[in-house]
């Protein structure tokens, strides 16, 4: 068990576990925290899991944990690990089951005040029109050939069907379609699970929220992102649904054999991996990219359903209710990216499991509209407090392979949350604070209570102060929909 004495303070908010902590570590582990978050990380197996991820063959620099890190399976959630391409490994456990779980932020041209009289109608209509909940099937049923196109073309498929605009694609990480995706690498089981779940929100921590921009910290960047104080916004948190879960299940199983074949020793079987240039590694990458594209198509379809609902409820009542995309980010993914490491330009496979890409200015991957200022980083908080919009930095490029936090991070187990909090009381409390709630399951709502999460302000403060992203604006929820 990692204890405080194993952690060396490198600078404010940055601690290191030396490579000598355990014999099988290939690099040191680094964690971005303040004193209070450090106590939380020491309270469960987060740091031990981080040390385990430092053993991956080909890992470069440090195995890193962001301030919202918490115990997961295999990697910690909030973990970042970069491996050398193509000799290093790729690990499905370093991406997670919900491949390309991520966030999309939409904004309107009006203040939130103008829609406050219609909020209840709006969130009820969204709850009716956007399928959500456990295993829910959606309105976009895919034929086998359509499925292949979704896997290879991602959000562009949805836009071609009329479910969005070219501008949406421009403002989506990877333009909504990762290169290297191959439908043939995705099993028929995964396709079966995904064929009627496109355009569904799911359950658990996934949500759709109507929000208000309550604070702007950096006017110049906010302006570039199209944000202003008081603005109406919508945030969508969802992923690749059953299709992504099955892709991860399939490859964790397949790679159990690959680790034997390539003589890879691991401290935890959930970390199974294969060299990026092996047939198994290439197949997983092709399947993961396909699942990531499915997730981008999913959030594109969810945005379309949201826009249609806004039109249904608001058209003719208020002006400028139309929603445009600020950005769409992935926070469970592995990407091939280039970085300067010890004076050398290296191609790396960056695993982000519960971590968000946070590219600083001038990266060619960024759309023209954001290249001068850096990438919008979307950090959703819990449903009772706030979410943040940050901007990527040059420091993140140097220190954390262009990565930062992804949310508040859990601190209370689901079991403990349900023991302490009742869903119906939570709903009443939130509504007393002016936050409307529509949820499919009251116990499910209780598991996601604000008390189950770390303080988002603290998490965001750490990444801001450590330079891994800068604060741009804060959002407050007005109405929340959960599956």
């Amino acid at each position: 068990m990692v204890t405080k004495k194993d952690l060396k303070r490198i600078e404010d908010y940055l601690y290191e576990i030396s490579k000598s902590y355990r014999e099988d570590m290939r690099v040191p582990a680094r964690v971005y925290l303040d004193a209070e978050l450090l106590e939380a990380a020491l309270g469960d197996r987060t740091l031990e899991q981080l040390v385990n991820s430092a053993t991956l063959p080909g890992i470069v620099g440090y195995a890193m944990a962001m301030p919202d890190a918490h115990q997961g399976y295999g990697f910690p959630i909030g973990g970042v690990a970069a491996t050398r391409y193509p000799q290093g490994v790729i690990s499905p456990g370093g991406v997670g089951f919900d491949i390309n779980c991520g966030v999309r932020l939409l904004i309107a041209g009006i203040g939130a005040d103008e829609v406050k009289p219609y909020l209840g109608t709006l969130i009820s209509a969204l709850y009716r029109n956007v399928p959500s909940g456990v295993g829910k099937k959606g309105g976009f049923k895919l034929s086998p050939s359509q499925m292949d196109q979704v896997l290879e073309k991602g959000a562009a498929w949805a836009v071609k069907q009329g479910y969005g605009t070219q501008d949406d694609l421009e403002r989506t990480e990877e333009r909504g379609a990762m290169a290297g995706a191959e439908a043939r690498a995705v099993s028929s089981r995964a396709k079966e699970r995904g064929k009627n779940q496109l355009g569904t929100l799911g359950s658990g921590n996934h949500f759709l929220e109507i929000e208000e921009v309550v604070e702007v910290y950096d006017e110049e960047v906010a302006d570039a992102f199209g944000l202003f104080p008081g603005q109406l916004a919508v945030q969508i948190h969802s992923g690749s649904r059953g299709l992504g879960h099955q892709v991860c299940t399939d490859y964790v199983r397949l790679l159990q054999e690959a680790v034997r074949k390539y003589h890879i020793e691991l401290p935890d079987r959930e970390l199974v991996c294969a060299p990026l240039d092996s047939p198994e590694g290439r197949d997983y990458f092709a399947a993961m990219a396909g699942a990531a594209n499915y997730a981008w198509a999913n959030r594109q379809c969810l945005a379309h359903l949201t826009r249609r609902t806004f039109e249904e409820v608001l058209a003719g009542k208020v002006r400028d209710w139309e929603l445009t995309t600020v950005y769409d980010v992935a926070h469970n993914i592995a990407k091939i990216e280039e970085y300067e490491v010890d004076g050398q330009r290296l191609k790396l496979c960056v695993h982000r499991k519960g971590a968000t890409r946070a590219f600083g200015p001038d990266r060619p991957e960024l759309p023209d509209v954001y290249r001068a200022v850096g990438q919008p980083v979307l950090v959703p908080g819990d449903m009772g407090t706030a979410s943040y919009i940050l901007v990527g930095t040059e420091e993140a490029m140097r220190a954390s392979f262009g990565s930062t936090c992804h949310g508040a991070g859990r601190v209370l187990s689901r079991k403990a949350a349900k023991r302490q909090i009742r869903g119906d009381k939570l709903k009443a409390d939130l509504e007393a604070q002016g936050i409307q709630v529509r949820a499919g399951s009251m116990p499910g709502l209780a598991e996601e209570a604000p008390e189950a999460y770390k303080d988002i302000e603290r998490v965001v403060d750490v990444v801001h102060r450590a330079g891994l992203a800068r604060k741009v604006a804060k959002l407050r929820p007005l109405a929340v929909m959960k599956g």
């Binding site: 469960d44 987060t46 918490h70 115990q71 997961g72 399976y73 295999g74 959630i77 456990g93 997670g96 089951f97 919900d98 456990v134 295993g135 089981r189 079966e192 699970r193 799911g202 359950s203 658990g204 059953g242 879960h245 099955q246 991860c248 299940t249 964790v252 199983r253 159990q256 054999e257 935890d268 079987r269 959930e270 199974v272 859990r410 601190v411 209370l412 187990s413 689901r414 079991k415 403990a416 399951s441 116990p443 499910g444």
Partner: protein, 135 residues
């Protein structure tokens, strides 16, 4: 949720079960019952459908995870919840079983059973293992 067959244990983000069995067949059956009990109220359900399962895998641990993920797959695509699990044959690399259940949706989703820290351990009165589920 405590019983002789399984118990839910604390995990910050996900769900974890400690599962017991007097023998391996019972351990596998209890793990499946435990998993579905996290997803739905099982006690009142009278099975009306049957499904035959046949799996091959690398070792007992991999077989256990494959077994649970196999059931999650059928649960999701067929909208079925299983309550009765009969393991016919079980070796270190193969399993045959019959599962019985009902057409129903779950009230809670489990994405997958994971290999995290997985070990089936021989205990005094049988076997014990801890399984972490991604939810």
């Amino acid at each position: 949720m405590t019983s002789f067959r399984f118990e839910e244990i604390e995990h910050t983000a996900d769900l974890a079960l400690r599962v017991y069995g007097r023998n391996l067949k019972e351990l596998f059956a209890n793990a499946a019952y435990g998993m579905f009990s996290l997803m739905a109220e099982l006690e009142e359900l009278e099975p009306t459908i049957k499904r035959e399962i046949s799996l091959e895998s690398l070792d007992y641990e991999a077989l256990l995870i494959d077994w649970l993920n196999e059931l999650l797959y059928w649960h999701e695509v067929e909208d079925e919840v299983y309550t009765r699990f009969t393991i016919h044959t079980l070796s270190s690399t193969a399993l045959t079983a019959t599962v019985e259940g009902v057409k129903a949706e779950a009230s809670k989703a489990i994405k997958a059973a994971t290999f995290h820290d997985l070990a089936i351990v021989k205990a005094e009165a049988g076997y014990v293992t801890t399984i972490v589920f991604d939810v």
